[in-house]
Every structure is written in C-alpha cells, then in structure tokens.
C-alpha cells in the first residue's frame, strides 16, 4: 500500500516536472509582463502540470500519514531518475556520463534508506 502510493506519487510528480519545463520553455520564456505570466499559467501545459502536482501531493500526504518523513522523502528522489530519463529522451537535453553516475549514487542512497 505504501509503496503503491509512493510510486503513483513519483509518477505524477515526475510528469508535472516535464510539463512545467515544457510550459516554461514554450509559454514563459521571453515574457516580460505579469499579464503574460498569468496567461502562461493557464496554458494547457501548465494546467496539466498543476493537475499532476495536486494529485501527486494528495497521494504524498497519504504517504506522510503512514511513514516518517525522514524515511519517505528520499524516495521522492526516484523522481530525479525519471526526470533525468525524460530530460534525455523526451526533451532531448544532453545528459553526460557524470549525471548518470550521479543518478546511480542517488539510487544507491534510496536503496540504503529503504532498507531501514
């Protein structure tokens, strides 16, 4: 139950990151006026990002109800792994070996925290 809630929260929060980046690049970059920022917040990309984050946060509160935050929070860094993969293959950002090595360390750290 806990791990299912955690995985669903990670999936929704990762999707939100990618949608936020797409929205920031397409709608926010180059804007100067507050009215333009507000219009950008209501673009499909950022509305979807907000929906994902609201649902992900609701699930996250259910996780916090059941687990220590010092134990649960490191699991959220699974989001880093998903976001890094999405940055590379969906957003086509260059990701170096260094960064993948960093991701491997993060996964090792999560595994260690998970084992307690």
């Amino acid at each position: 139950m806990n791990s299912l809630l955690l995985l669903l929260a990670v999936a929704l929060l990762s999707a939100s990151q990618v949608l936020q980046k797409v929205g920031a690049s397409r709608r926010l970059a180059g804007t100067t006026k507050p009215a333009q920022w507000i219009a950008a917040l209501f673009s499909p990309e950022l509305l979807a990002a907000i929906a994902c984050i609201v649902a992900g946060t609701a699930l996250w509160l259910a996780v916090l109800y059941r687990m220590d935050v010092s134990r649960a929070f490191p699991f959220l860094s699974l989001t880093t792994v998903v976001v890094m993969a999405a940055s590379r293959w969906y957003l086509r950002e260059p990701v170096t070996l260094h960064r993948w090595a960093g991701v491997a360390l993060i996964v090792a750290g999560i595994a260690l925290v998970a084992s307690t």
Binding site: Q17, V18, Q20, K21, G23, A24, S25, L28, A29, G30, I53, T57, W60, L61, L64, Y65, D68, V69, S70, R71, F73, P74, L76, S77, T79, T80, V83, M84, S87, R88, L91, E93, P94, V95, T96, H98, R99, A101, G102, V103, A104, L105, I106, V107, A108, G109, I110, A111, L112, V113, A114, S115, T116
Partner: protein, 137 residues
C-alpha cells in the same frame, strides 16, 4: 541568460525553491502527525478538536510553502536546463533529514543507514549537477 535578468535572480529562485520545499515537507508531516494523534472519532464538523485544528494549520502552512516553492521553481526553469536544476532540488533531502530528526515536534529516529543513504543522495546530486557544462535552458 543575459536576456532573462541578472544571474542572482536564478540563484535566489533556486535557493528559495530548495528551502521552501523542505519547510513545506516538515510542516505537512507535522500536520499528518497531528491528524494521526487526533484519531477518527475527533474528525468531525464543526472542528473543535485541538489536534484536528493543529493538523489543518500545519498542513495548510506546508501546502502554502510548497505552493510558493512551485512558483519560484518556474522562475528557475525559465533559466536553467531541467537536467541541471532538478538534481539540485535534492539538497532539500538533507534539510528535511536534519529537520525531521532535530525539530522537537517530530524527533524522528536518525539511523546510520538513513544518514549514510541521505549523504549518498547528496553526493549523487553533486555529481549530477556540478559538471561544469552549460546549465542554462
């Protein structure tokens, strides 16, 4: 970079995102802890139970901090690549760990495995973020 404002704005937005997301997590956890303490019988309308009131207070405070961090995060995303900026957010794991184990309201147990795991994550974040290549956009 130069077209998107001074460099310090990006750094300030990044710092605010990291600190606010950690404070938000700690406050939300404290809200859920109070809800746990309240038990099912006290969760009723109108809200009279002090534990339920505390739960709502801390959860709303946590959500507000978290919501503000999302806005500062958008200011970060306009300026940096996602693959550079996102790993830096994990600095908040360390803040959450120290806060959860030292804040008198929570006092979660610090175990060697959790401490080492959190440090490994921090090392991974440093490796993933600080590679000296172009980070903007």
């Amino acid at each position: 970079m130069t077209t998107r404002g001074a460099r310090w704005i990006g750094a300030a937005a990044l710092t605010a995102s990291i600190v606010l997301s950690a404070l938000g997590q700690l406050a939300m956890k404290n809200g859920m802890r109070h809800l746990h303490l309240a038990g099912a019988a006290e969760i009723a309308w109108p809200i009279t139970s002090p534990a339920v009131r505390a739960a709502i207070f801390w959860t709303v405070l946590g959500l507000a901090a978290y919501g503000t961090s999302l806005l500062t995060w958008l200011a970060v995303l306009v300026r940096y690549r996602l693959s550079y900026a996102y790993p830096l957010l994990a600095l908040s794991y360390v803040l959450v760990y120290v806060g959860a184990t030292h804040w008198p309201q929570l006092l979660e147990p610090a175990t060697p495995a959790r401490t080492l795991g959190t440090l490994l994550i921090l090392a991974g974040v440093a490796l993933a973020s600080l590679t000296g290549e172009r980070a903007d956009r």
